[in-house]
C-alpha cells in the first residue's frame, strides 16, 4: 500500500465521525434548534454501540444500538426544549454533562473488553447470501486501483453512510418541498406556524435525525476508529462538530470540505512531527484549530452572505399561541 493512500485512509477515518455528527446538527440547526448536546449524544452512541456489539458479538447490532441511543437521548432534549420550551443552550449543555456521566456508568463493565470491529464494505457485503460474494469480489478488484482504490472501495460502511448523508441532506434541504418547509421553520417559526406548518413536529424529527447521526458518529469511534470503550472517548469531538456547522455556514457541501480539512490538518501535523521537521509540536497540534478560525474569519467577512445562511430563529424557543 502506498503511503499516500494510507494517509488518505487515515484522514477519512479521522474526518468521518466529525462529518456525521456535524451533518446531523446542521439539519437540527436549519430547523431553528441549537442542540449543544452533540458530545453527550455521541458518547452515548459510543458506549451503547460498543456494549451491544460486545454482548451480541455483532458489530451491525452495535451500529444500530449506537443510532438508537443517539435518538433516545435526543428525544430527551426534544421533550425539554420543544414540548416544555426550556432554554436550548442550558438544556444542551446538561445533555452533554449527563451523557458523559451516564456513559461512564454504563460503560464501567465494558472497560478493557475486546472490541468488535465493523467489517469493511466488501467483507460486509460478502455476508449477504447469493449476490454478496460476486459484488464483494468486484469491490476487492476495484480496491486494487492505486492511490484511490482503497479509499473509494475498501472502507467501513459508516464512511459511505456519511458521504451519502451529505448528498442526501443537500438534496433534501434544497431540492425538496419538505426541505423548504424545514428551512422555513428555522428561519421564522411564527410565520411557518401561521401557514399551518407543524413547527414542533418538524423540529422533533430534525432533533431525532441529529441524535441518530451523533449516535452513529459515536458508534464509529467505538466500532471502527478505535474498537474499544474508554471513558470520555469522544474527547471533545462533539464540540468540533458544532464548530464545523458554523464553519460551513450551514451548507452541507462546505461541511464535507470542513471536516476533511480538519482531518487532513490533524493527521498532517502528526506526519510533520514524525518527520522531525523541527517545528514545535504545540504549534502543530493547534494547527487544526487555527485553520478553522482562519476559514471562519475569511467567510464571515461577507456579512450579508453569512446572515443569509444563518437560520434566523436559531436557538429561540417556540411557544405557539393558543
Amino acid at each position: 500500500m502506498l503511503i499516500a493512500e494510507s494517509i488518505l485512509l487515515t484522514i477519512a477515518t479521522a474526518a468521518t465521525p466529525l462529518l456525521l455528527a456535524a451533518i446531523g446538527e446542521l439539519v437540527v440547526e436549519r430547523s431553528g434548534v441549537l442542540n449543544l448536546g452533540v458530545e453527550g449524544m455521541m458518547v452515548m452512541g459510543a458506549v451503547c454501540g460498543f456494549a451491544a456489539a460486545a454482548l451480541t458479538g455483532s458489530p451491525w447490532i452495535g451500529m444500530l444500538a449506537a443510532i438508537l441511543a443517539g435518538v433516545l437521548f435526543s428525544l430527551l432534549f426534544g421533550f425539554l426544549t420543544l414540548t416544555i420550551a426550556t432554554n436550548q443552550v442550558a438544556t444542551g449543555l446538561s445533555l452533554t454533562l449527563l451523557g458523559l456521566g451516564l456513559s461512564s456508568m454504563i460503560g464501567e463493565a465494558f472497560v478493557g473488553s475486546p472490541g468488535v470491529k465493523l467489517p469493511t464494505l466488501a467483507n460486509g457485503i460478502a455476508e449477504i447470501p447469493l449476490v454478496g460474494q460476486p459484488v464483494a469480489g468486484l469491490l476487492d478488484l476495484l480496491a486494487g486501483i492505486p492511490l484511490i482504490g482503497r479509499v473509494l472501495f475498501a472502507q467501513d460502511p459508516i464512511f459511505y453512510i456519511s458521504i451519502a448523508l451529505v448528498i442526501g441532506v443537500t438534496w433534501f434541504l434544497f431540492h425538496t418541498r419538505a426541505g423548504l418547509v424545514l428551512r422555513s421553520v428555522g428561519d421564522n417559526h411564527a410565520s411557518a406556524h401561521a401557514l399551518g406548518t407543524n413547527v414542533i413536529g418538524i423540529r422533533y424529527l430534525a432533533v431525532m435525525f441529529g441524535g441518530a447521526c451523533a449516535g452513529l458518529a459515536g458508534g464509529h469511534l467505538s466500532l471502527v476508529y478505535t474498537p474499544q470503550w474508554v471513558e470520555n472517548m469522544t474527547a471533545g469531538r462533539g464540540w468540533i462538530a458544532l464548530a464545523l456547522v458554523v464553519f460551513a455556514s450551514w451548507r452541507p457541501l462546505r461541511l464535507l470540505a470542513g471536516a476533511y480539512l480538519f482531518g487532513a490538518v490533524s493527521i498532517g501535523q502528526l506526519h510533520a512531527q514524525a518527520l522531525g521537521l523541527g517545528i514545535p509540536s504545540q504549534l502543530l497540534s493547534s494547527l487544526p484549530y487555527l485553520a478553522t478560525v482562519l476559514v471562519l474569519v475569511l467567510i464571515s467577512r461577507n456579512r450579508r452572505l453569512t446572515m443569509m445562511n444563518t437560520p434566523a430563529s436559531l436557538g429561540q424557543p417556540f411557544v405557539p399561541d393558543r
Partner: protein, 356 residues
C-alpha cells in the same frame, strides 16, 4: 469550554462520592485520582493498589477514593474535603495535584499526605515515585533487537521531565544494542485520547517504524500495532488483551505493596515524611511478561532487568552526550536524582526537537 465542562462533571462526581461514617478504630486511607478508576492505565493502577490495601489490612482499614479530579482548584476542594472527613492519610496520585496537596498539608497538620510523582515535601507531606525509566531502558534494548528497520515510534504526551527521561532511557537502551538506532517522536499533547493516539500510531507506522512505544494511557496504539502487524510495548498496565501477538512487554505500575507499607506505618505511628523514588528492585513497577520475541532477546531482557535490580546497571551512566553533541556524563559517571527529576534535554540520537 471542554475543560470547564470536565471540571463541572468532576465537581459533580466528587460531590457524589459518599463517605460512610467510619468506626473509630478503623484507619481511613484516601486516594485522589486524575482519571477514572477503570481507565485501563494510570489511575486504574493506583486503584489496584488501593484494593490491595483493602485486602491485606482488612477490617483495620477503610479506603475512600475520589476519581476524575481535574488538576487545579477542584483538586484542592476534593483533597480538603477528604481531610475534613477524617482521613488519616491521603494519597494524591497525579503530578498536577502538587500545589493543592502542599496547601492542604499546611492546613491540616494532623493528616498525613503523600503526593505521587511530585517533589515538594513538608513535615506531614511525603512524595513517592517510580523509576519508570528503568523499564524503558529494557524496552529500548528489546526494540533494537526486534526492529528490522532500526527505527521505533514513540508516542509521547507532554514535554515534562518524566516523559523526556523515558525517551532518553529508551534511546540509551536501544543504542546499547545498536548504536545507530533511531526513534521518531510524536507528541500527542494529551494523556488520554484513544482516537488521537491511534492516529499517531498509524502515522508512525506509515512512516516506516516497526516497533511502537507510548507514554500515553490508552490501548489504542497497541490495537493499531496489532492491525498493522508490528510490535509494541504496553504502558502503565498490562495491555496483552489488546495485542496478544503484538505486545513485547510493558511497564506495569504496581503501587500496592507501597501503599500497604505506608498505611501500616500510619497505624503504627511510625509514618515519617519521605522522598521515595523506588524502582524495579523495590517492586513499585514490574515488567509485563516478555512475549512475542525470540528466546535470546528474552534472555537479554531478563539479564538487563536483573542487573538493574541489583544496582549493577544504572541506565543514565556515561559516557552520554547531549543531543547537540556536547558532553553530559563522563564515562562511569551516573546522573543524580535531582538532575533526572528536572531533565529537559535529549541525549544524542533522538530524532526530534524537544518542545520547550
Amino acid at each position: 469550554m471542554k475543560k470547564l465542562l470536565l471540571g463541572l462533571t468532576a465537581a459533580a462526581l466528587a460531590a457524589s462520592v459518599s463517605m460512610p461514617a467510619s468506626a473509630q478504630e478503623k484507619t481511613k486511607a484516601c486516594f485522589v485520582y486524575i482519571g477514572s478508576k477503570t481507565d485501563g492505565g494510570y489511575s486504574q493502577a493506583h486503584d489496584l493498589g488501593r484494593q490491595q490495601v483493602d485486602k491485606e489490612l482488612g477490617d483495620k482499614v477503610e479506603t475512600v477514593f475520589v476519581e476524575n479530579v481535574p488538576e487545579g482548584p477542584d483538586a484542592q476542594r476534593a483533597i480538603e474535603r477528604l481531610a475534613r472527613s477524617g482521613c488519616a492519610i491521603i494519597f494524591a496520585t497525579s503530578f498536577g495535584f502538587m500545589d493543592q496537596t502542599v496547601a492542604a498539608a499546611a492546613k491540616f497538620p494532623d493528616v498525613k499526605f503523600e503526593h505521587g510523582t511530585g517533589y515538594k515535601t513538608s513535615e506531614n507531606l511525603g512524595v513517592y515515585n517510580a523509576r519508570f525509566y528503568e523499564g524503558r531502558y529494557i524496552q529500548g534494548q528489546i526494540a533494537a533487537k526486534v526492529s528490522k528497520k532500526g527505527v521505533a515510534g514513540y508516542i509521547a504526551s507532554f514535554p515534562i521531565p518524566e516523559v523526556v527521561m523515558g525517551i532518553n532511557a529508551f534511546e540509551l537502551g536501544a543504542q546499547s544494542v545498536n548504536p545507530d538506532f533511531k526513534i521518531k517522536v510524536v507528541w500527542a499533547n494529551t494523556w488520554f485520547d484513544a482516537a488521537k493516539e491511534a492516529d499517531a500510531a498509524k502515522v508512525l507506522v506509515d512512516q516506516g517504524v516497526d516497533v511502537l512505544t507510548q507514554h500515553t494511557d490508552s490501548t489504542a496504539p497497541m490495537q493499531v500495532a496489532a492491525e498493522r502487524g508490528i510490535h509494541a510495548f504496553a504502558q502503565a498496565s498490562d495491555m496483552i488483551k489488546a495485542g496478544p501477538q503484538t505486545q513485547l512487554t510493558g511497564i506495569v505500575d504496581t503501587w500496592g505493596a507501597y501503599y500497604v507499607k505506608r498505611v501500616k506505618a500510619v497505624m503504627d505511628g511510625t509514618w515519617k515524611s519521605e522522598n521515595i523514588w523506588d524502582g524495579l528492585a523495590q517492586g513499585i513497577l514490574e515488567m509485563a511478561p516478555y512475549t512475542n520475541m525470540p528466546d535470546d532477546v528474552k534472555a537479554m531482557a531478563e539479564a538487563t532487568e536483573a542487573k538493574i535490580k541489583s544496582g549493577e546497571l544504572k541506565p543514565f551512566t556515561g559516557p552520554i552526550k547531549k543531543q547537540d553533541g556536547s558532553d553530559w556524563l563522563k564515562a562511569g559517571e551516573s546522573a543524580d536524582d535531582a538532575t533526572l527529576a528536572g531533565l529537559n534535554f535529549y541525549v544524542q540520537g533522538v530524532d526530534d526537537k524537544l518542545p520547550q
